[in-house]
């Protein structure tokens, strides 16, 4: 791993983060939006592992496990919410979820 400069990993994870943010802002399907959020979390995990490896301390790798656990819990609640929505409305398109208006 030490043959590859740290910057490459950081640039890759920054790019992944940007893809995630763009996806959240552009895509209209609630589940795809949710997957983009997971992509953002994973890019943060990649950053943490990279720094952890290059700094030579293990805090970052431990934290990745916490982030993964939290992401799983979040996915459980989030998918439950999306299913509850689908039961009532038969759609998960964000543009059609609009009973509240300014």
């Amino acid at each position: 791993m030490s043959n590859v400069p740290m910057e490459y990993y950081l640039i890759l994870s920054a790019f992944m983060f940007c893809v995630g943010v763009a996806g959240v802002l552009i895509r209209r399907n609630a589940i795809v939006v949710f997957m983009c959020i997971e992509l953002m979390l994973n890019s943060a995990n990649l950053t943490l592992v990279t720094f952890s490896s290059y700094l030579g301390n293990s805090i970052g790798q431990v934290f990745v496990f916490f982030v993964m656990t939290v992401a799983a819990a979040e996915a459980a609640v989030g998918l439950a919410i999306i299913i509850a929505m689908f039961r009532n409305k038969m759609t998960v398109n964000i543009d059609e979820i609009n009973i509240f208006k300014w």
Binding site: G20, V24, V70
Partner: protein, 465 residues
């Protein structure tokens, strides 16, 4: 200590819920006892500060004040939830358990001494909130509110985790003590400043500051009224506690405040937009949502100023705002009928003749939100503005004063409807002892903190130092 008590309380609540059919009667009062006990314990032990779990959590001081605010708000909210859930025939045992878990998350956030603990506490709180907002799962409005809150909340979480990763990478450690002591040397590193900025952006979502406020009106309108009351007070206080912890380098060690401009801009935008848009709202919950945006703006003034005085001002403001807002939302939940009827301002016409007590209370809370002396809301604003002037941010204080003048219009409008308009619809108000006691306690606290602000401010100032 208080963390273990709440943790054991959650486990006990789960056992009560699955083992008896009477959990409906037992759980709320058990939660109230738990919260009141923890709140009083925190207030009593405010001066004993020590670090737990190998430098992960700090008990006492600022965190004790915040723990007291969270637990006290939760106790009041549970009191007023009893009637509300009965009205909607939506009793789910997990409601109280989720409130307890979210309080535990807030307490971990407020006393965190490590960025990881901030993250864990934040997620414990947020995940409980996503579920609480959608607790009334058969209603479409609750579904929509929880979906919006979940997507934007998880989006903000993504920012926070990425920010934490960058901070960790540039500092090489996650201890907040280490960050605070070496703040000046780290801050020459662009990655550190960028990470902290992303971290703050994520938390700006959580405190509902403009331009990260889009979710607030919809979520506040769609979720159960009592949950809205809880989110807008304790949830906001928890997010502010993290800002205060992260800025303690600036406050206590006189490090330069890099984020002064960032905070000043979001605070000015929040104050003005919140106050102006609230004018056109007829739905009371939506109006209070915009008012909560503008109140977040007033509190952020204190972060922009970043001196000891303004930090004490923010904590005072948060405590007082919690009492006022919980009182106001309890009154709304008392008047609200089944199926989200009677939350429009028109339903408040002639409230005086239907229930003089509720009319007087809603007026009291509206005056307090508007910041009319000698009620408690006035001193909250006064301390924050004073801190801003000391930090050469006079223009921000002036914007704040102007927007609170604008906001008087829509607060007083409710009072005018309650006292000077004739009633258009007939309904009877069904509430019982729980809601009334929540309203009376918060009204008493608003008046006491208004006439004797030094009592509360004295405790807070010792805790901050």
């Amino acid at each position: 200590m208080p963390y273990i008590v709440i943790g054991v309380g959650i486990v006990l609540s789960v056992i009560i819920e699955i083992s008896t059919k009477k959990s409906k009667e037992i759980l709320p009062w058990f939660s109230v006892l738990l919260f009141m006990g923890t709140a009083i314990y925190s207030i009593v032990n405010v001066s004993q500060s020590f670090v737990l779990f190998s430098g992960m959590l700090e008990v006492g001081g600022k965190s004790a004040i915040f723990n007291a605010i969270f637990n006290f708000s939760a106790a009041l909210i549970v009191l007023s939830s009893i009637d509300y859930l009965k009205k909607y025939e939506a009793y789910y045992g997990e409601y109280y358990i989720l409130i307890q878990s979210s309080v535990l998350g807030m307490m971990v956030m407020a006393s965190a001494q490590d960025i990881f603990m901030v993250f864990m506490g934040l997620e414990l709180m947020s995940i409980c909130f996503y579920a609480l907002v959608g607790i009334n799962r058969k209603r479409l409005s609750a579904n929509e509110a929880s979906l919006k809150y979940f997507l934007l909340g998880a989006f903000a979480t993504g920012f926070i985790v990425y920010g934490i990763a960058l901070i960790y990478g540039s500092a090489g450690s996650t201890s907040i003590q280490n960050l605070v002591e070496n703040f000046v040397s780290y801050s020459s590193n662009i990655i550190f400043v960028l990470g902290l900025l992303i971290f703050f952006v994520g938390f700006s979502f959580k405190i509902a500051a403009v331009p990260f406020h889009m979710w607030v009106p919809d979520v506040y309108e769609g979720s159960a009224t009592t949950v809205t009351g809880f989110m807008s007070t304790a949830g906001k206080a928890a997010a502010f506690s993290v800002f205060i912890i992260m800025l303690s380098a600036v406050v206590s060690y006189n490090a330069p405040n890099f984020f002064k401009n960032y905070f000043a801009v979001i605070s000015a935008l929040s104050m003005v937009l919140g106050s102006v848009v609230a004018i056109s709202q007829d739905n009371l919950k939506r109006m209070l949502a915009y008012s909560s945006i503008s109140h977040a703006g007033y509190m952020v003034i204190g972060l922009a100023a970043g001196n000891l005085y303004s930090i004490a001002g923010i904590i005072f403001y948060l405590a007082v705002y919690s009492f006022i807002n919980i009182g106001a939302f309890s009154v709304i939940s008392a008047i609200e009928g089944k199926d989200e009827s009677r939350i429009d301002i028109k339903s408040y016409a002639g409230l005086h003749s239907k229930s003089p007590f509720l009319a007087a209370m809603i007026s009291l809370f509206m005056f307090a939100l508007a910041g009319i002396p000698p009620l408690a809301g006035f001193f909250g604003k006064y301390y924050v503005f004073f801190g801003a002037i000391q930090a050469d941010l006079t223009w921000l204080a002036i914007v704040g004063v102007l927007s609170s003048v604008i906001s008087v219009y829509f607060y007083i409008r409710v009072v005018v409807y309650a006292y000077f308009k004739n009633s258009e619809e007939n309904f009877t108000i069904q509430t019982s002892v729980g809601t009334y006691s929540a309203i009376i306690v918060s009204a008493a606290l608003v008046i006491i903190c208004g006439f004797f602000p030094d009592l509360l401010l004295g405790i807070i100032t010792t805790a901050v130092k």
